[in-house]
């Protein structure tokens, strides 16, 4: 399997096979691989790179799953750092942003699998956010959380989603997919829902008309073959439903968790995963370089290795920072615009559903880039 033969299939629009994916991961020439992924990226999106204005809220880090890969969760309320926000505290976070004049278009809500909160907490949380800003898009609760609600509250997944949609849910984030292979899942997140359950939640969401994102956490103990299998399972569901908007490769951060003995993935790994994802996931529109996870400099570079989106302004991120991310907590829209332009790309502000919000001279500018970038 040569890169040249894979390139021919990419140019002809032929979906890549499992063997192609493995060969791409094993391709030693990172720049050749990047050029091929960039070709597909530019065919689809030209030189545009999108971003949005969002706010991350993590309502609670109490979690019954206690995954070895996680630095965020706490098992008991008595543990140092354990917290659960009141509804008022959640709503205040949004209100504070709006009061500061930020034009937030999306709130991203994910948290631990808390078994002491009632379902009404989540319903009211969404409804309250929506009442503060009715035009807000709420992207909330990973498939793992939705499945947890299903089990904890004895509701069908469809009903969980329908009730949350009625309260204001607009789409699902892509977290919790980790690596689908049971061998890996058993080691890094044994108490999360399994691959079939994760995929079924997204299938159901798509059937209800919701859009969602999908992810892959790489860099722990998975093999190249397990990465490719993961990507192909996402691609298969996308063929069925067409509901995924973006794929987000998530690099493992080893600080402060039970997998601290593992080395962090290298930047070559990061860009390789980004590029291979673009090439294998031909039917998923967007590849996101999540700067919180990758770091700003790698994320900026990823715009040439298949990525066409940089996520958003974020404001307050806990999950990756507790795992050792040294990216800043937030970027202003002007800083993101600068990052994109400095990479020779054209910035476009989008909403959650990838509708254009602003471009060209309507975008903010700044003279210097964000501080503390790594």
């Amino acid at each position: 399997m040569t890169l040249a033969s894979i390139s021919e299939r990419v140019s002809a629009g032929i979906p890549l096979s499992f063997d192609d994916g493995v060969a791409l991961f094993r391709e030693p020439d990172l720049l050749k691989l990047g050029a091929l992924a960039n070709q597909m990226r530019e065919q689809r999106h030209g030189d545009r790179t999108t971003f949005n204005r969002n706010l991350h809220i993590n309502p609670s880090n109490l979690c019954v799953a206690s995954c070895p890969l996680c630095s965020f969760s706490r098992r008991n309320p008595e543990q140092p750092g354990a917290y659960t926000l009141s509804l008022s505290q959640v709503w205040d976070k949004l209100q504070a942003r709006l009061d500061a004049g930020d034009c937030v278009t999306e709130v991203h809500v994910v948290g631990g699998l808390n078994d002491s909160l009632p379902f009404d907490y989540y319903v009211e949380l969404l409804a309250g956010l929506k009442s503060i800003q009715p035009t807000l898009h709420i992207k909330a609760f990973s498939a793992v959380e939705i499945f947890h609600f299903h089990k904890l509250f004895q509701l069908e997944v469809r009903e969980v989603l329908q009730r949350l949609v009625a309260a204001g849910l607009g789409s699902l984030p892509g977290g919790g997919a980790e690596i689908f292979a049971p061998r890996v899942r058993q080691r890094i997140c044994p108490n999360k829902c399994n691959a079939e359950q994760w995929l079924q939640v997204h299938r159901t969401a798509h059937q209800l008309g919701l859009r969602s994102n999908c992810t892959m956490l790489y860099g722990t103990i998975e093999t190249i073959e397990e990465r490719v299998e993961h990507l192909l399972r996402l691609r298969t569901l996308q063929e069925e439903t067409g509901g995924f908007q973006a794929f987000i490769p998530l690099t493992f951060h080893p600080d402060n968790n039970a997998l601290s003995h593992l080395p962090a993935p290298t930047a070559v790994d990061d860009l390789r995963v980004c590029a291979v994802s673009r090439l294998v996931l031909h039917n998923i529109p967007h590849i996101k370089a999540y700067w919180i996870s990758l770091g700003i400099k790698t994320a900026q570079t990823a715009q040439w290795f298949g990525a066409d989106d940089l996520d958003g302004t974020v404001q307050e991120e806990k999950i990756y920072h507790l795992a050792g991310s040294d990216a800043p907590q937030s970027l202003t829209p002007a800083e993101i615009v600068h990052l994109i332009r400095a990479a020779g790309r054209t910035p476009v502000e989008r909403d959650t559903l990838y509708n254009v919000v602003a471009q060209g001279e309507a975008l903010p500018t700044c003279a210097s880039p964000a501080g503390g970038q790594r």
Partner: protein, 198 residues
């Protein structure tokens, strides 16, 4: 700002063309080897470099990069340095060093320009303390061939106060080199090189 940016990175093919040319030049110069060693003296000016080499130290020169410097000026000072090497300046390696305001792509392209412009200089080094291991390893795909900086024998787990440390172990340094497609060699006392088993 936009014209400088456009000059630095456009057209799209440039990134890959420049990067691959620099990588090929580096692989050819080092025969596919990559090097690492613990922190060493790096001169920040030519007089300091001359004094260092006069005292028998390895001739390494730090080349700073600011976000504001136009590409033409970068290329101009690299060409001037290349002339000085041709005229006899003893220089074993340069260490491209971005200031805090430099972004990732600008740094990688500067590394590649160093490699391409300074054919008479044996090594382009990555300062892990300044670039970090992630961008540092990427620089190996853009013409760098050596890692320097905080490379330690053993490192505590990334917990508590040590979380976020940029120090890497000798094994990790070798892994970064091998992951970039290079054979890893460690600089040992007396100026020797030892291949680090993969």
């Amino acid at each position: 700002m936009s014209s400088r940016v456009a000059t630095a990175t456009s057209p799209s093919a440039d990134l890959f063309v420049i990067g691959r040319a620099a990588q090929a030049a580096s692989r050819s110069a080092t025969d596919g080897r990559g090097f690492f060693g613990c922190s060493t003296f790096i001169a920040t000016s030519l007089p300091m470099l001359t004094e260092a080499t006069g005292r028998g130290l390895r001739g390494l020169l730090r080349l700073s990069l600011t976000a504001e410097e136009p590409v033409q000026e970068q290329e101009g000072r690299l060409a001037q340095l290349a002339d000085q090497v041709r005229e006899g300046l003893v220089l074993d390696g340069v260490v491209p060093t971005p200031e805090e305001d430099c972004l990732g792509l600008a740094t990688l392209l500067f590394v590649a320009r160093c490699r391409l412009a300074l054919a008479g200089v044996p090594h382009v080094l990555v300062d892990l303390d300044r670039l970090g291991p992630k961008l540092g390893q990427l620089a190996l795909a853009f013409g760098a061939d050596e890692l320097c900086g905080p490379i330690v024998e053993t490192r505590a787990l990334r917990l508590g106060d040590n979380a976020g440390s940029r120090a890497i172990t000798r094994v990790e340094a070798a892994q970064l080199l091998c992951g970039a497609g290079l054979r890893a060699f460690e600089r040992v006392a007396g100026g020797g090189l030892e291949e680090f088993p993969p």
